[in-house]
C-alpha cells in the first residue's frame, strides 16, 4: 500500500493550525494584540534596515553611525533651544557654526534630530544602526534556538527512553548553570581562540558581533527544547500518530507531515518571546562591559553609555538615555504583544467564557 492511498491522518489536535491558512491569517489580524505588536515591529524594522544606506560604515552621510561632527558634542535634540546655562555669546557662535555646517551637509539638520552624544556623533544615526544590530541579535538567537531547540526536543520526545533521558539531563545541567556565566564564558573563549576561517571571513569589529550572536543564541535554546519535547510527548499519545505508525508511514514522513505541523504554533510563540529576551541579554552584557565592541552601537550599549551623562543631576544629557530606551522598550513591548497575541490565536481553547 502506498502512502498516497492512506486517508489523511493528521487531523487537527493540539492546535488550530490545521485550519486553512487564510482563516488563520484572519484570526491573527483579528487579534488586536498581535496586529499592534506585529505592525509596530514591522515599522521599526523598516525604519532601521531601510536607513542602512545612510547609517552604515561606508556611508558619507551625516548620520553615519561613527561620524564625528567635531565641536558639536552633546547637542540637545534638534533645534529645541539652548540650554539655560550656556552664556549667550558662546551659544551664538556655536549656532552660527552649526548653521554653516548644516548648509554644507546634504541632510540639513536631520542628523541632530535626536541630539549628539559625548563624542559628537549623531544619536539618530547611532540609534538606527544600533537597531539593526540589536534586532539582528534577537533574530539570530531565535533562529539558533529554533533549530537547536526543536531538533533536540523532537528527538527527545519522539524517541523517548534513554535518548530522552540523556538529552533532558544535559538540558537540566545547562539549565542549572546561570546563563550569564555561559554567555560571558562563550564570549571570552571565542575571543581567545577564534578559528582562522572566522577571522578570514569577518573583520575584527564585526567579529565581536558574530561572537555575541553565537553566545546568546547558544544559551537560549533550552526552553524551546523543553517546550517542544513536552508537546511531542502529548502528541505522540494521540491516536492519529499511532494510526500513522500502524499504517506503516515512514518515520521521516511522520516527523515532517504529522508532528511538525502541529508544533508550529508553540514554536512560533516561543521564538517570538526569545527575541526580546536575547535583546535584553545583550543590554545586560553591554552594562557589564563585555557586550559589542565600542564604535558599534546597539540599543543596549547606547542606553548603558547614556546612563551616566543622563543621570548627571547638574547637567543632564537626558536624550542619550531617553531615545535608545524608548526604542528598546517599544520594540520589546511589540514583540511581547505579538507573542501573547499569537499564543491566543494558536490556543484552541481561546474562547474563554465571560463570567
Amino acid at each position: 500500500m502506498s502512502a498516497a492511498a492512506i486517508p489523511r491522518l493528521n487531523a487537527p489536535v493540539a492546535t488550530n493550525l490545521a485550519a486553512p491558512p487564510d482563516r488563520l491569517w484572519r484570526r491573527v489580524l483579528a487579534s488586536r494584540r498581535a496586529t499592534f505588536g506585529g505592525g509596530g515591529l514591522l515599522l521599526i524594522i523598516l525604519l532601521c534596515f531601510g536607513t542602512l544606506p545612510w547609517t552604515w560604515e561606508g556611508s558619507s552621510s551625516a548620520v553615519q553611525y561613527n561620524r564625528q561632527h567635531d565641536q558639536f558634542s552633546r547637542l540637545p535634540p534638534s533645534s529645541s533651544g539652548r540650554p539655560a546655562d550656556i552664556d549667550l555669546s558662546a551659544w551664538n557662535e556655536r549656532e552660527t557654526k552649526l548653521a554653516g555646517y548644516e548648509i554644507r551637509s546634504r541632510l540639513g539638520h536631520v542628523w541632530r534630530w535626536l541630539g549628539t552624544d559625548t563624542q559628537a556623533r549623531s544619536l539618530l544615526g547611532r540609534c538606527l544602526f544600533g537597531g539593526v544590530i540589536s534586532l539582528s541579535i534577537g533574530f539570530a538567537a531565535a533562529a539558533i534556538s529554533v533549530t537547536l531547540g526543536v531538533a533536540v526536543g523532537l528527538i527527545a520526545g519522539y524517541r523517548g527512553g534513554w535518548v530522552d533521558a540523556t538529552l533532558m539531563r544535559i538540558v537540566d545541567v545547562l539549565y542549572g548553570l546561570p546563563y550569564i556565566l555561559l554567555v560571558i564564558l562563550f564570549r571570552i573563549a571565542f575571543e581567545g581562540a577564534r578559528p582562522k576561517w572566522m577571522s578570514m571571513l569577518f573583520k575584527d569589529s564585526s567579529m565581536s558581533m558574530v561572537v555575541l550572536f553565537l553566545a546568546i543564541g547558544l544559551v537560549s535554546w533550552l526552553t524551546m527544547a523543553r517546550v517542544v519535547r513536552g508537546q511531542v510527548l502529548s502528541l505522540r499519545a494521540q491516536p492519529f500518530i499511532e494510526a500513522a505508525r500502524a499504517a506503516g508511514i515512514p518515520e521521516r514522513r511522520i516527523f515532517l507531515h504529522h508532528l511538525l505541523p502541529n508544533l508550529v504554533g508553540p514554536i512560533i510563540v516561543y521564538a517570538s518571546l526569545t527575541i526580546p529576551s536575547a535583546i535584553l541579554q545583550e543590554s545586560f552584557l553591554s552594562f557589564l562591559g563585555v557586550g559589542i565592541q565600542s564604535p558599534l552601537p546597539t540599543w543596549g550599549s547606547l542606553a548603558s553609555d547614556g546612563l551616566q551623562p543622563a543621570l548627571n543631576t547638574i547637567h543632564s544629557d537626558w536624550w542619550l538615555l531617553l531615545f535608545p530606551c524608548t526604542l528598546l522598550a517599544f520594540v520589546l513591548l511589540c514583540l511581547n504583544f505579538l507573542g501573547d497575541g499569537l499564543r491566543d490565536v494558536f490556543d484552541p481553547r481561546n474562547e474563554a467564557a465571560k463570567i
Binding site: R32, G157, R169, D172, V173, L174, Y175, G176, L177, P178, I180, L181, L182, I184, L185, I188, A189, E191, G192, A193, R226, V227, R229, G230, Q231, L233, S234, P266, P276, L280, S283, F284, F287, L288, V290, G300, A303, S304, L307, L311, T313, L321, C325, L328, A329, F330, L332, L333, N336, F337, D340, R343, R349, N350, E351, A352, A353, K354, I355
Partner: protein, 312 residues
C-alpha cells in the same frame, strides 16, 4: 511518592556534580590567568609559588585537590582574586543580604503578578487587561539597569527617601526589592493571565456562578487556586534568581550581596569564586525545583508527580 522522592534525592547530587564539573572545565578553558591579572607583576618563580599554593599547576592536580576539599569540608578555598578572603567567608557575608532582599522581592512579585494577571484575565481585552499587562510588560521591556537607575533617581536622589546611609534598615529593602521584583512579576502576571483564561472557561466555574456564588468568590477562590499551577512551576527558577542576588540591582543601590561576586568572579577569572557562586546558585535552583515538584502533589492531588510530566 516515596520512590519519586528517593530517586530525585539520588539525582540531586549527581546533577550538582555534573554542574560542578562543567563549570570547572569552563572556568579552566577560559583564556586569562587569575594570577597574572593582578598589578603586582609577579616573577615566574613567585607565579609558580602562587599556583602551588592553590594546587593549580595544571587542571588535573587542581581538580583532584580542590574537589576533594569541596566534597569533604564544603570548603571552596581561598579566593584567587582577593588574597585575604576565602570564598566561604564571602558567601557567608553576602548570602544573607541577598536572601533577605530576594525574599522581599519574591513576595512583591508574587502578589503583584498574580493580582495583575487575574485582573487582566477577568477583563479580557478590556481597558484593564491592556493597562495591567502594559504595567507588567514595562518590567520586561526596559533593561534592568535602566529601571533600577530610574527608581534610584526618582526616590533616593529627588525625594530623599529612603535616605542614603549604611545598609541595614528595613526601609532600604523597598526600592531594590521592587527593582528586583519587576522581571519575575511581569512573568508571573502573564502566566496567571493565560492559565486564568483557561480556567474561566471550565464548567465548574459556570456551575459555581449558577448556584449563586459571587463573582469575587468564584474568581479569587475557586478559579485562582487552579490557575496558580503554572505559576508554581515558575517559582522554582524565580526563587533561585531573586534569592541569589542580581548584579544590576546591587550595583545601582550599592548593596553588598552575592550578585556582584557572581559576575566579578567571572570577569576576573577567579576560578574558586566562580565555582563557589555557581554551586550555591545551582543548589538553590535544584532545591526549589524539587520543592515545587513535591508541592504539586499537595496543591492538586490529581497530579501524578511520579510520571514524566514533560514540563512545557
Amino acid at each position: 511518592m516515596i520512590r519519586f522522592l528517593i530517586s530525585r534525592l539520588v539525582q540531586f547530587p549527581l546533577i550538582l556534580a555534573a554542574i560542578y564539573l562543567v563549570t570547572f572545565f569552563m572556568a579552566w578553558v577560559v583564556p586569562g590567568d587569575p594570577f597574572q591579572k593582578t598589578d603586582k607583576n609577579l616573577s615566574p618563580q613567585a607565579l609558580m609559588q602562587r599556583r602551588r599554593e592553590f594546587h593549580a599547576e595544571n587542571w588535573r592536580t587542581f581538580l583532584v585537590y580542590y574537589s576533594g576539599r569541596v566534597v569533604r569540608h564544603a570548603d571552596f578555598g581561598q579566593s584567587m582574586q582577593y588574597d585575604e578572603w576565602s570564598v566561604n567567608d564571602i558567601l557567608k557575608s553576602a548570602l544573607p543580604v541577598s536572601i533577605t532582599l530576594g525574599l522581599f522581592a519574591l513576595i512583591v512579585a508574587l502578589l503583584g503578578g498574580v493580582g495583575l494577571g487575574t485582573v487582566a484575565a477577568v477583563r479580557r481585552d478590556g481597558l484593564l487587561d491592556w493597562l495591567s499587562l502594559s504595567i507588567a510588560l514595562i518590567g520586561v521591556s526596559l533593561p534592568g539597569f535602566v529601571a533600577a537607575a530610574m527608581l534610584f533617581i526618582f526616590f533616593t536622589a529627588k525625594l530623599h527617601w529612603p535616605p542614603i546611609g549604611e545598609w541595614g534598615h528595613l526601609r532600604d529593602l523597598v526600592l531594590p526589592g521592587v527593582a528586583l521584583a519587576l522581571l519575575p512579576m511581569a512573568y508571573i502576571a502573564r502566566l496567571t493571565r493565560v492559565s486564568m483564561l483557561d480556567i474561566l472557561g471550565n464548567d465548574y466555574v459556570r456551575t459555581a456562578r449558577a448556584k449563586g456564588l459571587s463573582r469575587g468568590v468564584v474568581i479569587w477562590k475557586h478559579a485562582l487556586r487552579n490557575a496558580l499551577l503554572p505559576v508554581l512551576s515558575y517559582l522554582g527558577p524565580a526563587a533561585a534568581y531573586t534569592l541569589t542576588g542580581s548584579f544590576v540591582v546591587e550595583k545601582v543601590f550599592n548593596i553588598p550581596g552575592l550578585g556582584q561576586h557572581f559576575v566579578n568572579s567571572i570577569l576576573n577569572r577567579d576560578r574558586t569564586m566562580i565555582l563557589g557562586t555557581v554551586i550555591v546558585y545551582s543548589f538553590f535552583l535544584l532545591t526549589f525545583n524539587l520543592l515545587v515538584d513535591v508541592s504539586y502533589a499537595f496543591v492538586d492531588p490529581r497530579i501524578d508527580v511520579t510520571s514524566d510530566r514533560g514540563d512545557a
